[in-house]
Amino acid sequence: MFWGMKPDALLYPTPKGLYCAPGDFYVDPVHPVERALITHGHADHARSGHTAVMATRQTLDIMRIRYGEQFCVSEHVAELRQTTVINGVTVSFYPAGHVLGSAQIAIEKDGMRIVVSGDYKRRADPTCLPFEPVKCDVFITEATFGLPVFHHPDDRAEIGKLITSLKQFPERSHLVGAYALGKAQRVIALLREGGHDAPIYIHGALTKLCDYYETQGIALGDLRPATLTGKDKSMFAGAVIIGPPSAFADKWARRFIDPVSIFASGWMMVRQRAKQRGVELPIILSDHCDWPELLATISEIQPGEVWVTHGREEALVRWCALQGIAARPLHLVGYDDEGE
């Protein structure tokens, strides 16, 4: 293969994040920069304080919700599948299937195309557009669940466990830990698909994001604040309450009677993880690829090279080597590989 440009000349890792020198921009920088292209709204990828930010409309909206109007100086909306030229470098955004608004970013110059996938998943998610594979010379993938142990089971069967428990323990409140952006709304949407029509109570940290999902046409049903009205704790008996996992260790959780502690995360695949966190009912639900999906994606795209950003990169690099695919870890810092 002849490359007019070496991939390292087009994009390389720096302490601030991946940097495109010819275009003079960063992708998902972890420190404030002049020009940032953002894949999705999770806090470790989308930080405030950049001068110019380019992202999908939804990602920009999510950043505004999280950081306020002043999250950057100028916004540039990236329309999906359309090209924009920045200092002679062509960039385009494609759906990544991770959370609402998430996108992969293709960066191209002189016949060399690199796709930064950000975080992505391959299975259907009622709350965002599905991943679109893009042919490229270098595919930059995450490896959050990059170990052969991760085979995420069917989403609906997992939500089914929660619905079964509601029937089995109708006197107990069901407290679900789920990250505020993406996972929480997906849990709610899956519960609704599974026929759970009752009000769902949400932690204050979820309110604005859930409202935003509604404006984007994702119906979440009857959501109410998980706030005690009066002293009657029995209002939460048999109800689903959703909050960020951090709130569970917090005094906030004390208002619920005899709660079943539930955590919706890909990490729940490993029993010891569930046990350590004191989770009583693990729901294996991930917004990242599991191992077979990572392998299938690389096989489908057939990139000339694979770069692995964050997570369990050594196993994925090993697998690529066994397949004869050039691969290397990028050792990027600042991304939360536990964040799920």
Binding site: P148, Q168, F248, W252, P292
Partner: protein, 542 residues
């Protein structure tokens, strides 16, 4: 198999007893025979299953997987059975099958050694992830789910609306898959008849003496006995069958051949299993620590039998020969017991002596200063009390000797489970010792009860405001000579331990009082604890 696997997954992570019972009872209701009976056996530890060596399982996995990737996976998960259950990739066309637990067991137990490899591979292929895990845990003998046989029986009782003592009585007379038991619990057949008379009978238990309990009672209506610090047992010899049962009904006959061999009278007696010499052999009773050397062993070496001879200190009699004497009064039963023990092997049996007293004050003094260090308190038994299963308040009381106490400093805290999951309620505490020229705190135990809800609020607040470091769910707490949290820890006994860094291990430690009036510098030293052990040892070897 899937329903069984899901049950195990839920049980492992469910802390509350009642929720476990509910999960079990629901499973028994929804699962047909014989699967539910085999599941019960797996949980209660009565299932016999062909063992598969871990090396074979590893081999099978590496047939399809790169060794380096397997190593990464195993390092991450840390448990072989779980790793294999997760990394195993079955051919796509086999998915969707769900073989029954009984069919899996049947195939395992009827397959010859030569074919076992092929069979295990086939089974791993046709089971889904959770079932694969359950299967691997069953064949490697590593099924640990935090459910005792007693709890499983309670779930059966709830499921069938029967009394748990009836299930206990039947338990050792029936075998997996327990179809006649389920038929009775579902009201389809009468209670199964016992084929073997030497079954376990639920033991009679005492309630602790509480403030004011004795005020209305007459000392002359009660007999007092020492409460010995061994393990409570039931010994049966009926119809030519001899059995030694633990208090919970587990058959421990195999562990104590010395007792079984010496058993030369017919009937069922209640007593304390101890190590050392009987009173009439004039050798001392040895400590619980010595008894522990004999517990939970599958095989017992001649040296073990010689170094740690076991004997029974008899408390009561349930059957005199084949005659059920449980309805007689305590003092009448004791006369029968006395006669039996008098004639029995003098080195293996003695009668628990009665303690003479005239007032509760007398007894209180005796309780505090017992004549033997292996005594942990006093038992009070109403003279006319029949032998009734379970723990009813009134006929029998236990009055323990005062616990040991030390002042210790909180060092680490961990969040609790269930309704305590938002509280730091599991504490590791330490005492002072010298490390070269420095005074350091060394952890000596863990406690997660003893305090009131209000005290827990105080402890939790202190932990949250004074965390130095976090390791996963554990927080390390500020603990310096001039700043920290002192608690009074009460415990029942203390032993040397090579497994703990401090070299000591406490029995039943709990937080007795919060000592907010003290600073850590005033807490006890490791020397104090070591002295408690030395004092006990000196008393035992007198």
């Amino acid at each position: 198999m899937r329903a069984f696997a899901e049950l195990l997954d839920r049980l492992v992570l469910t802390p509350q007893r009642n929720a476990k019972i509910k999960l079990l009872a629901d499973y028994f209701r929804d699962t047909p025979d014989p699967d539910r009976g085999y599941a019960l056996a797996a949980i209660a530890g009565t299932l016999s299953i062909a063992a598969v060596k871990p090396a074979l399982l590893r081999d099978l996995t590496l047939e399809r997987m790169d060794e380096v990737l397997f190593r990464y996976s195993y390092d991450y998960v840390g448990d072989l059975a779980e790793t294999i259950s997760l990394v195993w990739e079955a051919p796509a066309d086999l998915e969707g099958e769900d073989p029954s637990l009984s069919s899996v067991l049947h195939r395992l137990n009827t397959t010859g050694k030569a074919q076992i490899r092929t069979l295990v591979r086939d089974l791993l292929d046709c089971l889904e992830t959770s079932s694969r895990y359950a299967f691997l845990k069953l064949v490697t003998g590593g099924l640990r789910i935090g459910v005792s046989a007693r709890l499983a029986k309670q779930a059966l009782a709830d499921f069938g609306g029967q009394d748990v003592s009836d299930i206990e009585t039947l338990w050792h007379g029936i075998a997996p898959p327990y179809e006649e038991l389920f038929a009775w619990l579902e009201g389809r057949t009468p209670k199964p008849a016992l084929s073997m008379p030497a079954v376990f009978h639920t033991v009679m238990l005492a309630t602790p003496v509480q403030e004011g309990d004795l005020d209305a009672l007459e000392p002359k209506d009660f007999a007092a006995e020492w409460k010995w610090d061994g393990i409570r047992i039931q010994l049966a010899n009926l119809g030519g069958v001899r059995r030694l049962y633990s208090r919970s009904g587990d058959d421990i006959s195999g562990t104590f051949p010395d007792i079984l061999d010496a058993l030369d009278f017919e009937g069922v007696i209640d007593g304390e299993l101890l190590v050392g010499g009987t009173a009439r052999s004039n050798r001392m009773t040895r400590t619980f620590y010595d008894l522990q050397q004999r517990l939970n062993r599958k095989t017992v070496s001649p040296k073990m039998l010689e170094d740690y001879p076991a004997f029974i200190r008899a408390y009561d009699i349930l059957f005199d020969g084949p005659e059920d004497v449980r309805s007689e009064g305590f003092i009448d039963r004791r006369a029968r017991l006395s006669e039996k023990i008098e004639a029995a092997d003098h080195t293996r049996f003695d009668l628990s002596p009665l303690v003479a007293f005239t007032s509760w004050e007398d007894l209180d003094r005796l309780r505090s200063e017992p004549p033997d260090p292996v005594i942990e308190g006093i038992m009070l038994k109403k003279l006319d009390s029949p032998y009734t299963p379970g723990r009813a308040k009134g006929p029998w009381f236990k009055w323990k000797r005062n616990p040991y106490n030390i002042d210790a400093v909180l060092m680490y805290a961990q969040r609790g489970h269930g309704k305590r999951s938002s509280y730091y309620s599991d504490f590791t505490f330490g005492v002072w010792t010298k490390d070269g020229p420095n005074e350091i705190l060394v952890p000596v135990g863990k406690a997660y009860f003893g305090f009131t809800d209000a005290e827990l609020q105080v402890l939790d607040k202190f932990v949250r405001n004074n965390t130095i470091e976090r390791f996963g769910p554990v927080r390390s707490i500020r603990a310096q000579a001039d700043f920290g949290f002192v608690v009074e820890v009460a415990f029942e006994g203390i032993n040397r331990s090579s497994r703990h860094k401090s070299g000591v291990a406490m029995r039943f430690p709990r937080i007795a009082r919060l000592r907010e009036d003290k600073i850590p510098a005033e807490a006890d030293r490791l020397d104090t604890l070591l002295a408690m052990i030395s004092a006990d040892e000196a008393a035992t070897t007198e």
